[in-house]
Symmetry: C2
Subunit: 322 residues, 2 copies
DNA sequence: AAAGCTCTTGCACATATGTGCAAAACTTGC
DNA sequence: GCAAGTTTTGCACATATGTGCAAGAGCTTT
């Protein structure tokens, strides 16, 4: 009986965790108490941590909040979590660290029965890798923007991404199997009337937590949307002409946060910013200096309530606003 | 500047904790990143854990709740935390374990701006030793029952106990400097009208969390109240005659939870059970087989909402109720 | 400014912990 | 009921971590 085995493991892990973390037993002692080998105890404890049975949280007394975080609160009204990155680190390593911090912050913010909206993207993919497991009840996870493009349905990609996310949060998944950017706005309107799709859109509007990265400025090869066959050459020209600095869930915006008069948005599968702002908590994860203007625009648009950002980028944005 | 040093340490500990617990760095790596020696990092991390900067919590998914805990919920309507104790352990070691578990549960239940009522006793003394530090804001700690007796004012004892508790919770202390049991009920009435005392009594009534152990059956040398000069020989005879099985904050009760007609209660410094039951959460910590009937009585009196108990005692109580 | 004190640091060592590997236990499919 | 496949276990080793001690830094007192 597979389920039985699992629950035995869980109980043992729980017992081991108690003895180890609460009573400061050595693994050796736990081993003899549980009647298994020391290495099994080591593995049980790993399991307990990874599966979320044991949660380690770090409290920052507010005096310890960094200057930078305070200034984000004052200037933009967002709760910033600034991730320090030491010395010279590649952009990829910076992203990893930021994603790791974000994963824990997200886990702490998802409550039982939350409806969580998730915009796919490379940042979110990085976050997923670091999410610890939890045992929250009744969480629902909604995909915010489509991922199909000229070359692929994106199903593989989003299924993996959302699936990873959902597994860690033990959530139910609602996928949005449509193109990221439609060729014809009328197609979107038609699909949006399909009940199977409309149900997902309703859940988006009801989300109480929205988690997203930001597309960076045009031409950045690391943002999927600009390089993955989602946009034609004429589209890119149009975005440049309108002064677009980034996107959030496939919706494009300018440095001042406005979206009006950017035709591509009429073909986007992502939610309008009014829908986004309906969610009470909106966590943005963003890393890397190239995202400076994306972040400035998203802040101007009021998309963000909670920001996870690497320190250099945070400083850049503060400096740019002066 | 002492404050400055402390806050530097805190920031470093926080940074180290992030790198260690979030990013899985080795202490060696953290050391080179922070520019200190590896052993300092080890010490910083200890500090972070002890000071409550890092909190380790253990979640029990309810399927993992033990049979015993479920039966406590069904039979008595209390949330029991059963502490397993392996094989043969002395009563003192059992108490230590139970106290250690209780310390963590208590820490998790104290919220910012809580008013916490605390009944002194040997169980609480054991709990105090294991309380981790926290940085909660605006917690107030109220002594529920006096501790003076024929030989001592009890000030030393309660100051240490409450002080230890308060320090870990960064709470403000309200002591009740009166005898545990008055010789003359009129003295109590008079004192109770003193404004300095009345203020403490008001706080007791306003407590939202009440934490207490239980006095065990008469004659048990481990319960202070029966051996510390609090009660005369005639008092003890009276308690026995009335079928008293234990006390909570110096108030005595019978196996069925009743208190009516026990004259000593009129001279007790502790709160009436009606006052106790006013607190929405009432945590009882109790360990050791001799407390069986004390616990049964306290359960019958409805004093308990959350119970921390060692497994053998829990089983005894369940068996006795059948 | 020196002496005396306390608190912190790094070193070196003793333990404690993580992990690849082969054997064992257990599952599954026939 | 057996064989192939999968998972779990303990062993042995390599690392990682905790801690007593002596030296150093920082602060206080004279």
């Amino acid at each position: 009986m597979a389920a039985g085995r699992k629950s035995v493991k869980m109980r043992e892990a729980l017992a081991a965790a108690h003895l180890y973390y609460r009573q400061d037993f050595t693994m050796e002692a736990i081993a003899s108490e549980l009647g298994v080998s020391r290495s099994s105890v080591s593995r049980l404890l790993s399991y307990a941590r990874e599966s979320g049975l044991v949660e380690i949280r770090i409290h920052s007394p507010q005096e310890a909040r960094s200057r930078v975080e305070q200034r984000f609160a004052e200037r933009f009204g967002v709760a910033a979590h600034v991730v320090p990155v030491p010395g010279k680190l590649s952009e990829a390593e910076q992203l990893e660290r930021t994603a790791q911090a974000a994963a824990h912050i997200i886990t702490a913010m998802v409550k039982p029965r939350s409806i969580v909206g998730l915009a796919w993207g490379s940042t979110m993919a990085a976050v997923t890798k670091h999410l610890p497991g939890t045992t929250k009840q009744g969480v629902q996870l909604v995909q915010m923007n489509g991922a199909a493009n000229v070359y692929s349905t994106g199903l593989q990609y989003t299924t993996e991404l959302l699936g990873g996310f959902a597994e860690r949060l033990s959530a139910e998944v609602f996928q949005l199997a449509v193109p990221a950017i439609f060729d014809d706005p009328a197609t979107r309107e038609a699909l949006w009337r399909e009940r199977s799709i409309a149900r997902v859109l309703d859940m988006q509007a009801a989300a109480n937590l929205f988690i997203f990265g930001l597309g960076s400025r045009i031409g950045d090869p690391r943002s999927h949307i600009y390089s993955g066959g989602y946009l034609g050459a004429d589209d890119l020209g149009q975005l440049a002409g309108e002064g677009v600095v980034g996107d959030c869930a496939s919706r494009f915006y300018r440095l001042d946060g406005t979206t009006a008069g950017i035709p591509i948005n009429d073909r986007s599968s992502g939610p309008s910013f009014d829908i986004v702002r309906r969610a009470p908590q909106r966590i943005c994860v963003v890393s890397g200096a190239t995202k400076r203007d994306s972040l400035r625009g998203a802040l101007a648009a009021g998309l963000i309530t909670d920001l996870v950002v690497d320190e250099p980028l945070a400083r850049l944005v503060l400096a740019a606003g002066e």
